[in-house]
C-alpha cells in the first residue's frame, strides 16, 4: 500500500510520540494543573515539547542511519468506506524531520521563555489564572503542528493545518476581553476572528485543491499522488497547485490574504514568535515544498507562486518601514520574509526556501522574543515609574491601569501607555544590555549581513532568482534593502538616543529564564548558516533534503549577487543611521521620513489602506448583502410572504375546507360513526340470544349436531 519502505530498524516506532508527548503534557496540565504551581505547569509543558524534540532527533538520526530512505509508520485506521482507505500514518523523511526539528526545537525554547514571560504578563494583565490555559494551548499547538508536518497524506496534513489554525485563533484571542493595551474591549477577539475567517478563505482553496486531487488521482497519499500526477493533464495540476496557493496565501500570509498576521500580534509575544513567525506560518512553504513534484510539472503555476511571494516580500517590507509598534514591524517583516520563502519554493529552489525557513525560524523567534523582553522591560519600568509617582503625590491607589477600569482610562493620560510603541522607547541599550545584544544579532541576521544565518539563506534565494527570474530578483533585492532599512530604523529608535518616556528610562533587564532561550536562539542565528554553506563539500541541508526532493541544484557562492545584497543591506543601514541614528527622535516628534516622503509615508503608516480597501470592497458590501438577504429576501419574502402567506395560508385553507369539512367530517367521520351505530344495533339484536338459560344453550348445541348429522346423511 505504501511506496516507501516500512519501518524495520531504528527508532521509527516512536513517531506517534511526536504527537502524544505534547498531548500528554496538555492533558496533565488540564487535569492536574489546578494544583500545580506556575513553575510545575511550565516545566510539564516544556518537558512535553522537549520530548517531542527528542523524538524528532531520534527519528532524524534513524533516518540518517538508513541513508535517508523515507519511512512510513502506519498508526491508525481512520476512515474505511468501500475502496476508500484513509489512514493516519506518519511519514518520516528528510523534509518532515527538518520541520519536526525546527518546530519542536524552537517550540521548546519558546516554552521555556514563556514560563518567564507569562509569569509577568498574566500579572500585568491582571488574570494569573490564565497561565495554565496558555501552556495547554501551546502544547496543543505543538501536537497539531506535528500532525501537520508528519502526516502521510494531504488529508492528515489538512487535519494539522486546521488544528494549528484553531490554536492560532485561541492564542490570538488569549486576552479576549481586552485590547493590546489591557483596556476592556473586544479588539483582541476581533483580531482572532479576523485571523480565523481569513484563514478560512485560504482553507477553502486548500480543500478545493484536495478534492481536485482526489477526483484526479483517487488518493490523498503523497506518494500515490506524485506517482499519478505524471499521467494527468497539466491543466488539472495547474488548478490543484493554484488552489493550493490560495491555502498557502492564507496560512503563510501572502497577498491577498496576509491581512490577518499583523493583527495576530494581539496574542502574547511567545505566540507571535512561535506560531506567527517561526512555525505555523511556514506551513504554507512546507506544503509547497512537499508538493514539489506537482509544482515542478507546471512552470506557469510556479511563476505565479514566485511572483506572489516576491510582490508580498516587497509590499510588506514597505509597510514595515512606516510602523511604530515594535511587534507590528516584526509582523510585516515576517510577511516579507515569508514572501522570500514562497518566492524561493515557487522558483523551484526548494532547498533555499527550506533553508530560509529554518534560519528565519531562528532569528525571527529571537527577534520576537527579544521584543517581548523589551516590552516586559518597559512594563516593569512603567510600573516602577507610576508607583514612585503615586508615592510622591501620595494619592491614588497605585498599581496598574487595568484595575482602574474604563472610566479611569479617560481621566489620566498616562493610563494608555503602550509598552509596544517604539516612540515610547529609546536608549534601552543601557538599561537592557543583554536584550540589546540579542536583538542586534537577530537584526543583523534578518538584514542579511555576513556571516549571520540570514545572509546565507537569503543569498541563496537571490542567487536562484538572479539565474532564473530577473523580475523576482529585482523585487526581492529591493525588499532586502527595505528589510535592512526598517530593522536599522528599529534598532536606532529602540535602543539608541535618549528615553522618550518615563517607562523607558526606568526599564529593567529580564530574568535569565527569559534571556537564556534567547541566547540559544542567538547562537543558532549566528551559526545557522553553517547548515548549508554555498561551498564545495558543504550543502549539507541540500544533500539532506535531496533524499526527499530528488533533483537539487547545489549552487556555488556567486560573489556578484552576494556583494550586491551585502552592499544594499549596508547602504540601507547607513541610510537608517542618517535618518534615525544621527539625530535621535525626540519625544512627541513625528517620524523624520514623514516630511520628505509625504503621502507615500502616510500610505506605509496606514498599511497602504489595504484593510480599509477590504472593508470598502468586500466586507461592507458583503454586510449590506447579508442585511438585504436577511431582511428583505429571507424575512420579508420567504418568511412573511412565501411561508406565512402562500404556504401556510394555502395549507390552512386546504385543510380547513377540503380536508376537515369534506374528507374528514363528511367522509371518514361519517363512516366511523355509521360503523359504530351499526355495530351497536347488531349487538343489541344478538345479545337477546344470550338469555342466560343453560338449557337453551345446550339446545343450540343439539341443533348443530342434528344439522351435522343431516349433512352427513345427505352427503352420502
Amino acid at each position: 500500500m505504501h511506496l516507501s519502505e516500512t519501518a524495520t530498524t531504528g527508532y521509527f516506532f516512536l513517531a506517534p510520540w511526536l504527537v502524544f508527548a505534547p498531548v500528554i503534557g496538555l492533558l496533565v496540565n488540564i487535569i492536574f494543573g489546578g494544583r500545580f504551581s506556575e513553575k510545575v505547569i511550565g516545566t510539564v509543558a516544556s518537558l512535553a515539547s522537549g520530548a517531542s524534540f527528542v523524538v524528532s532527533v531520534l527519528l532524524a538520526w534513524s533516518l540518517a542511519a538508513g541513508h535517508g530512505a523515507a519511512v512510513t509508520v502506519p498508526f491508525l485506521e481512520w476512515i474505511h468506506i468501500g475502496n476508500l482507505e484513509l489512514d493516519w500514518a506518519f511519514r518520516v523523511d528528510s523534509l518532515s524531520t527538518t520541520m519536526m526539528l525546527v518546530v519542536s526545537g524552537v517550540g521548546t525554547l519558546i516554552h521555556i521563555y514563556a514560563i518567564g514571560y507569562m509569569h509577568e504578563d498574566v500579572r500585568f494583565k491582571g488574570d494569573p489564572g490564565r497561565f495554565r490555559r496558555f501552556f495547554v494551548f501551546l502544547n496543543l499547538f505543538i501536537a497539531m503542528m506535528m500532525i501537520l508536518v508528519s502526516g502521510d497524506s494531504y488529508l492528515m496534513l489538512f487535519v494539522g493545518w486546521e488544528g494549528v489554525g484553531l490554536c492560532s485563533f485561541l492564542l490570538i484571542g488569549f486576552w479576549y476581553d481586552m485590547d493590546t493595551l489591557g483596556r476592556p474591549s473586544w479588539a483582541n477577539s476581533n483580531a482572532a476572528k479576523k485571523a480565523f475567517v481569513t484563514n478560512r478563505v485560504g482553507d477553502f482553496g486548500f480543500l478545493v485543491a484536495a478534492f481536485l486531487m482526489f477526483w484526479a488521482f483517487g488518493s490523498f497519499q503523497f506518494d500515490e499522488v506524485f506517482e499519478a500526477a505524471h499521467a494527468v493533464a497539466p491543466g488539472v495540476i495547474v488548478a490543484i497547485t493554484l488552489f493550493m496557493l490560495i491555502g498557502v496565501a492564507g496560512k503563510s500570509a501572502q497577498i491577498p490574504l496576509y491581512v490577518w498576521l499583523p493583527d495576530a500580534m494581539a496574542g502574547p509575544t511567545p505566540v507571535s514568535a512561535l506560531i506567527h513567525a517561526a512555525t505555523m506560518v511556514t506551513a504554507g512553504v512546507y506544503l509547497i515544498t512537499r508538493s514539489a513534484e506537482l509544482y515542478t510539472l507546471v512552470p506557469q503555476a510556479q511563476y505565479i507562486v514566485a511572483m506572489t511571494g516576491a510582490i508580498t516580500a516587497l509590499f510588506a517590507a514597505t509597510i514595515a518601514v512606516g510602523q511604530y509598534d515594535i511587534k507590528k514591524v516584526l509582523a510585516y517583516s515576517t510577511i516579507s520574509q515569508l514572501g522570500f520563502m514562497v518566492a524561493a519554493v515557487g522558483m523551484g529552489a526548494f532547498v533555499a526556501g527550506m533553508f530560509h525557513l529554518v534560519t528565519h525560524a531562528f532569528f525571527k523567534a529571537l527577534l520576537f522574543l527579544s521584543a517581548g523582553s523589551v516590552i516586559l522591560g518597559l512594563e516593569r519600568g512603567h510600573h516602577h515609574a507610576e508607583h514612585s509617582h503615586h508615592e510622591q503625590k501620595s494619592k491614588g491607589k497605585g498599581g496598574k491601569s487595568k484595575v482602574e477600569g474604563g472610566h479611569g482610562a479617560h481621566d489620566r493620560h498616562e493610563e494608555v501607555f503602550d509598552p509596544g510603541d517604539m516612540r515610547n522607547m529609546g536608549g534601552l541599550r543601557k538599561t537592557m544590555p543583554v536584550t540589546f545584544w540579542l536583538y542586534m544579532i537577530g537584526t543583523l541576521a534578518l538584514a542579511g549581513i555576513v556571516p549571520f544565518a540570514g545572509f546565507w539563506s537569503k543569498d541563496e534565494i537571490l542567487l536562484d532568482a538572479s539565474l532564473h527570474y530577473p523580475t523576482v530578483y529585482l523585487l526581492l533585492s529591493i525588499a532586502a534593502f527595505f528589510t535592512a532599512f526598517y530593522m536599522g530604523r528599529q534598532i536606532w529608535m529602540v535602543f539608541f538616543g535618549e528615553p522618550r518616556h518615563e517607562a523607558a528610562a526606568h526599564a529593567e533587564e529580564s530574568k535569565p529564564i527569559i534571556t537564556a532561550p534567547l541566547m540559544v536562539l542567538a547562537a543558532l542565528s549566528l551559526l545557522g548558516g553553517a547548515l548549508n554553506l554555498p561551498f564545495e563539500g558543504f550543502h549539507q541541508l541540500g544533500h539532506w533534503l535531496e533524499y526527499t526532493l530528488h533533483e537539487v541544484e547545489a549552487l556555488p557562492l556567486d560573489l556578484q549577487v552576494a556583494g550586491i545584497s551585502t552592499l544594499l543591506a549596508l547602504t540601507a543601514i547607513f541610510l537608517s543611521w542618517l535618518i534615525y541614528g544621527r539625530n535621535p527622535l525626540k519625544a512627541g516628534q513625528p517620524d523624520p521620513l514623514k516630511k520628505p516622503l509625504g503621502f507615500i509615508f502616510t500610505g506605509m503608516e496606514n498599511k497602504w489602506f489595504v484593510d480599509e480597501g477590504y472593508f470598502a470592497v468586500i466586507i461592507n458590501p458583503f454586510k449590506r448583502l447579508s442585511y438585504f438577504l436577511a431582511d428583505v429576501v429571507d424575512w420579508r419574502f420567504w418568511h412573511d410572504w412565501f411561508h406565512e402567506t402562500v404556504i401556510a395560508g394555502t395549507y390552512n385553507w386546504l385543510s380547513n375546507i377540503g380536508l376537515n369539512l369534506y374528507a374528514d367530517q363528511k367522509g371518514i367521520d361519517a363512516f366511523a360513526n355509521w360503523l359504530g351505530t351499526a355495530t351497536q344495533s347488531l349487538s343489541a339484536t344478538l345479545r337477546k340470544v344470550q338469555n342466560g338459560f343453560v338449557r337453551s344453550y345446550a339446545l343450540s348445541v343439539l341443533v348443530g349436531v342434528v344439522f351435522i348429522l343431516g349433512y352427513l346423511i345427505l352427503k352420502s
Binding site: 344478538l686 345479545r687 337477546k688 340470544v689 344470550q690 338469555n691 342466560g692 338459560f693 343453560v694 338449557r695 345446550a698 339446545l699 343439539l702
Partner: protein, 100 residues
C-alpha cells in the same frame, strides 16, 4: 345370535333419551342423571363393538369411563351442594345471571 346393530340402535335410543333429559328437565340433579345415562349408552356401544372385534381394549376404555364418571359425579354433586347453598334451589333456570 344377535346382530351388533341392535345394540347400537339401543344405545342410540338411550342416548337420545339422555339428550332429551338434559334439554327438558330443569332439576340439575336429573340433568346430571341424564348425562350419566348418555355415558352409559356410549359404554354399551363400546362394549358391543369390543365384543364383535374380539378386543379387550374397548372394555378397558369403558372401565376408564366409569372411573372418570365416578370422579365427575363426586365433583359435580359437590358443586351442586355449593350452588344450592348459594341459591337455595337447584333449578338451572334460576342460574341465568350470565346473560347479555
Amino acid at each position: 345370535m344377535i346382530p351388533v346393530e341392535y345394540y347400537i340402535i339401543l344405545s342410540a335410543i338411550l342416548f337420545a333419551i339422555g339428550v332429551a333429559g338434559v334439554l327438558v328437565r330443569r332439576n340439575a340433579l336429573i340433568i346430571f342423571m341424564s348425562i350419566e345415562l348418555m355415558l352409559n349408552s356410549a359404554n354399551l356401544a363400546i362394549v358391543a363393538f369390543s365384543s364383535v372385534l374380539k378386543s379387550f381394549s374397548g372394555q378397558v376404555f369403558v372401565f376408564f369411563v366409569i372411573a372418570v364418571a365416578a370422579a365427575e359425579v363426586a365433583v359435580g354433586l359437590a358443586l351442586m351442594v355449593e350452588i344450592f347453598k348459594a341459591k337455595h334451589s337447584i333449578d338451572v333456570d334460576q342460574m341465568n345471571s350470565l346473560k347479555g
